[in-house]
Symmetry: C2
Subunit: 197 residues, 2 copies
Amino acid sequence: MSADTHSLDLLVQALRRLPGVGVKSAQRMAFHLLQHDREGALVLAQALQTACAQVRHCALCHTFTEEEICATCRDPRRDAAQLCVVETPADQAAVERTGAYRGRYFVLMGRLSPLDGVGPREIGLHKLFERACDGTVREVILATNFTAEGEATAHVIGEALRARGLQVTRLARGVPAGSELEYVDLGTIAHALVDRR
Amino acid sequence: MSADTHSLDLLVQALRRLPGVGVKSAQRMAFHLLQHDREGALVLAQALQTACAQVRHCALCHTFTEEEICATCRDPRRDAAQLCVVETPADQAAVERTGAYRGRYFVLMGRLSPLDGVGPREIGLHKLFERACDGTVREVILATNFTAEGEATAHVIGEALRARGLQVTRLARGVPAGSELEYVDLGTIAHALVDRR
């Protein structure tokens, strides 16, 4: 690229700030937008600016919202005695889609990951502890991911909340619905054996 | 997502207009920008708007530029008798990096792909023919990709330009530098045998 493609180069650099986008993908995106979808580029620019201006965190559950308190936390029909802790709004949406949970949420917006510099403060654990100990919550359901970091996060939160006298549960580990044992990995079967009921 | 995340939903929709970005990636991008990199989101918004306003096509070679004529076409040291036809600015950059070519370019900004509605007009073949027949060009080097569509595009251009009395060549097909025959695919070896010298 030469000097007279300065704004194209800046666009490629800016696209690289998106997670999972390397230099080749960023170039392909920039070429596509400029060649075939300039309207889409302007729509995206507008959407980015609007979202940055409008979206903030719910004062209660920490998820993304445009209000002071998010719609789920405002809903009086939801059970205030149960608090489900998830890593991201996408995880919250997955739990919601099951239709099997009618309590409240706390969204960590991340997971403990000391190697990446993400400690208790970064994922707002102090806010979670404050929220969980507000007197209305009786059970905290840990629904962080079943990855190493998600498990570690669940462990830390569980220890801290049990010390504060709260009932803490974790999503059940086991064989996924619809699966054949032959094709399930060994760790999952081992866990399902230990947690059999 | 509920009604109070309207601008977040719009952002996810807008991100999906990027090539290769599905709903999960778009969500991850939106969450990442809003949670960790709002400055990056605003930089990207600005870069999109600037690029849309500034970037246009070179009047001679059709590549992206901010000037009437791009830097490569303006460069008087480049050989005007040779015209290298490539699909994208990225391909042009790849040829440039070799340092083995000192002629001019024509960038198609695509390839013939009738099933996607991309015909001769969409990739500016009329401009290429006009450019190639301006009296200065003696050799047209077809450097479209060695995919089915790239080959078809090269074939169509080659036929049309030979009919106009121009010398047309194609990048050599063969075994890549540094490769062991054992691991080269059969089609490539077959072509290298046919084109042996």
